[in-house]
């Protein structure tokens, strides 16, 4: 019998042959991976050969859902794009909210795999069993919002869910995003460039079928109760009001608000980037993704000033940071406008802001000049300049063409020591945290499968000092060090446990904000819900879920290892490990990565010297099948 919550089918769109194949989800995958990131990791490792060009025909683009997707469980609208990243050359993934994941399930598929490369621009259209690869020459060049509107009107159905790339994806900007519902971005690691390289302008999905769960009545009861917990959670209520903007003030207070290309962690202009300031002035509506009772999305409107008339959802805290403090800009309208440009052109806001910050610091230090930038004298705090550069990146014009390669590659081409200002790990620009004042995130950035990533294992319990949660989760014996953000001690334990839970989150798939600060749901809640949803009783035990999570982490690591990643790559920019925090509450702090790495590898069952999974771990996690795809193939 098919387990509950799944559509049970994988859909493959073969662009070379312009046709589709439908396969059943192999039954053993459910127990070993649950879904989402797990299924996608299984497919990507298996099907993309080592050293394959991320923008070449052999790369795959996977759109995956999990058994929770499209059900009544809170925040069930999330979905993930996974591929080998053209920005980093390793594991790439980007989760996104909105509505396309559930729609794919309603169409009858858990996973969509896009293979090959179309000769001319196309879009992939899925409506239940009606599958088509449709000419998209007339859509090429359009911005993402225009693509959605055009496809919806062509199909004469406003409920078609569209994932689109913009001009940036077409031009293979290395950090091009995929946009759904006009303003939700699968931003990181350049998934939009992969679609662009395949000549796929959009994926359009419409479904009319249902998702049956194992024990319907009990599941509805659990889900309704879970929604009640979301609605009653004080942090969730704050998030409903201010979205992730609540973080600006928190970060400023603890001295972790990335400012001037991560040079410092405090920003004098932070107040105008905080939720308290923004909401009453600019917010005109609250929105949510599918099935979400939290509703963190804010619709904002600029009434006056140079960006008057800008109406857009977002940005998140990360966007505020990237086009705010990181560039020394203290102006919400600038961030909103930048967000709109990013959404329309299809560019990752974090990487884009970070590349501009890199260029600005390099310019200020005389490593590049205005001849190179096409006459732009880069300076901090210049809104007009930042937006102009963003546009140039998205369209790959002038100096933007170089920055569109990402800060690692741009600094490599510029040389002259500019590498020190490229703030990335494994090629992925660092997100809005700082290991100096929050040690565990230093470890997360260094070990994250996709590079400097805050979504794989961001521990908030230490950062915000939740002693009780820490005691319950990791044992009293690890207090007080484990909640001290300035010590390396026990941080690997916190990171591993958090990463494990986040793996389950990304297999289900549910939203980050249901497990974030402080979590509404955790492993035990998933262990209670999953057997009711699926009927798979082994999901009811925490230890089994942990094993599934470990398998996911290790499989992604094996994927990266095949591309040559090892301990030497699990580093941080010198900015965090050598330069002490210059000011603020964390003044003088820096990261000592090595002891945390040793602990991390040990807990993961990876070799301490190489940082690679040991043979014993590979066997324990039943990943021996990866041996047959060795690096030489």
């Amino acid at each position: 019998m098919k387990p509950g919550g799944y559509a049970g089918r994988i859909l493959r769109a073969d662009l070379n042959r312009r046709d589709f194949r439908v396969e059943p989800v192999p039954s053993e995958w459910v127990a070993e991976y649950i879904g989402g990131d797990g299924f996608a990791a299984r497919i990507l490792y298996d099907e993309v050969p080592a050293k394959a060009d991320p923008l070449g025909e052999k790369n795959r683009l996977i759109l995956a859902t999990g058994p929770v997707t499209g059900t009544l469980w809170p925040m069930s609208g999330r979905t993930v794009f996974i591929s080998k990243s053209p920005l980093t050359g390793i594991w790439g993934e980007s989760h996104v909210g909105g509505f396309i994941g559930p729609e794919l399930k309603y169409a009858g598929y858990d996973v969509l795999v896009i293979e090959g490369r179309a000769e001319k621009p196309v879009y992939v259209s899925i409506c239940d069993q009606d599958l088509e690869i449709i000419n998209a020459s007339d859509l090429w060049g359009l911005k993402t919002d225009e693509v959605s509107a055009a496809i919806r009107s062509r199909h004469n159905d406003p409920d078609v869910q569209v994932a689109a790339i913009g001009p940036a994806g077409e031009r293979c900007v290395r950090f091009a995003s995929v946009i759904v519902n006009n303003a939700r971005a699968a931003g990181r690691t350049g998934m939009g460039a992969v679609l662009g390289s395949k000549n796929v302008k959009a994926i359009a999905v419409r479904g009319h079928q249902g998702i049956a769960v194992n024990d319907h009545e009990r599941f509805v009861e659990l889900a309704n109760d879970a929604h009640r917990r979301v609605r009653q959670n004080p942090q969730a209520q704050q998030m409903h009001k201010y979205g992730t903007w609540v973080l600006t003030a928190v970060k400023q207070t603890i001295g972790e608000l990335p400012t001037y290309n991560h040079r410092t962690g405090v920003f004098s202009g932070w107040e105008k980037l905080s939720g308290d300031y923004i909401r009453p002035r600019y917010t005109i509506g609250d929105r949510a993704c599918f099935g979400c009772s939290l509703g963190c999305k804010k619709v904002n409107y600029i009434r006056e000033g140079p960006y008057a008339g800008t109406l857009e959802e977002g940005p998140e805290y990360e966007g505020l940071m990237a086009f705010g403090s990181l560039l020394g800009i203290s102006d919400f309208p600038t961030a909103l406008r930048a967000n709109q440009i990013c959404n329309r052109l299809g560019v990752d806001m974090i990487s884009a802001g970070s590349c501009i910050a890199f260029a600005t610091e390099a310019f200020q230090n005389g490593l590049i000049d205005s001849k190179m930038t096409g006459g732009i004298d880069l300076e901090w705090g210049n809104s007009e300049q930042a937006l102009r550069l963003l546009d140039m990146i998205g369209n790959r014009t002038g100096f933007g063409d170089l920055l569109a390669e990402g800060s690692r590659e741009a600094s490599r081409r510029i040389g002259r020591g500019s590498e020190q200002f490229a703030i990335h790990v494994k090629g992925l620009e660092v997100s809005g945290q700082d290991g100096r004042t929050h040690r565990s995130i230093g470890l997360s950035h260094a070990t994250g499968a996709r590079g400097a990533d805050h979504l794989r294992s961001l521990v908030t319990v230490d950062q915000l000092g939740y002693q009780e949660v820490a005691a319950k989760r990791w044992g009293c014996d690890k207090l007080p060090e484990i909640v001290d953000p300035y010590t390396e001690k026990y941080k690997a334990a916190a990171v591993v446990e958090t990463e494990n839970t986040y793996c389950i989150r990304d297999a289900l798939i549910v939203c980050w904000y249901s497990v974030s600060w402080p979590p509404i749901f955790w492993m035990e809640d998933f262990a209670q819900m999953l057997p009711v949803l699926t009927g798979v009783s082994r999901f009811g035990e925490r230890k089994n879920l942990i094993e599934i999570a470990e398998r996911q982490v290790t499989l992604k690591r094996l994927f990266n290892a095949r591309e040559g990643i090892s301990r030497k790559d699990d580093t941080l920019p010198k900015r965090f490990t050598v330069d002490p925090m210059p000011e603020g509450p964390g003044k003088g702090q820096k990261v000592n990565l090595e002891p945390m790495l040793n602990d991390y590898y040990r807990l993961r069952g990876w070799d301490e010297i190489t940082g690679l999974p040991t043979e014993e771990t590979v066997r324990r996690l039943t990943l021996e099948w990866t041996h047959s795809h060795s690096a030489s193939s």
């Binding site: 309603y106 249902g210 049956a212 509506g285 008057a308």
Partner: protein
């Protein structure tokens, strides 16, 4: 303030209806999920008896529910009197045994919430869950309420939404005439 002129008895018997305040709606579609879960035993928004229309370009979401209809076009149009109106609850309901599947009601419904289930060939019609509507219970924001007209706080909502749309149109025009894109 609401002035209550009738006697208590009259107030008591005022029919309840689904009342929507779209300014509160976040477009989460939990109502559709809850409806299909209750009526169909699966999660299947396409068979929900209500429909949230999301306008991604405007950032506005509008739930469409059954009623309140002063005149009920679905009842008027039904050729075989399968769609009728309960004189006391004022609720329109479908007598499935009489229905000949002509789909007139689906076309006539001003809210677009009467649908044809093509897989099982039947008309889907909201019945307010017999007086305890699941959507109103599930809605996290209070955008759908089940109440009498007098209890509902809908007075300002039209002003709000029309003012908002007017503002958007105004700036869109300014943008077209000279503003940058």
């Amino acid at each position: 303030m609401i002035l209550c002129t009738g006697t208590l008895d009259e107030v008591d018997t005022l029919p309840s209806m689904l009342i929507v305040d779209q300014t509160k709606c976040t477009g989460c579609r939990i109502c559709e999920l809850a409806c299909s879960a209750k009526k169909e035993g699966v999660f299947r928004p396409s068979l929900a008896r209500l429909k949230v229309v999301r306008y991604d370009d405007l950032g506005v979401d509008i739930p469409n529910v059954c009623g309140p209809c002063e005149e009920a076009p679905c009842v008027e149009v039904c050729p075989v009197y399968a769609m009728r109106r309960d004189p006391i609850s004022r609720m329109t309901f479908l007598d499935e045994d009489k229905c000949i599947l002509c789909k007139s009601c689906a076309g006539a419904c001003v809210n677009g919430v009467i649908r044809l289930d093509t897989s099982r060939m039947r008309i889907l019609k909201c019945d307010h869950c017999g007086g305890d509507p699941e959507c109103a219970k599930a809605c996290p924001t209070g955008a759908i309420q089940y109440a009498t007209a007098a209890q509902a706080s809908v007075l300002s909502r039209h002003d709000k939404i029309t003012g908002y749309l007017r503002e958007i149109r105004r700036t869109a025009q300014t943008q077209e005439s000279g503003g940058e894109s």
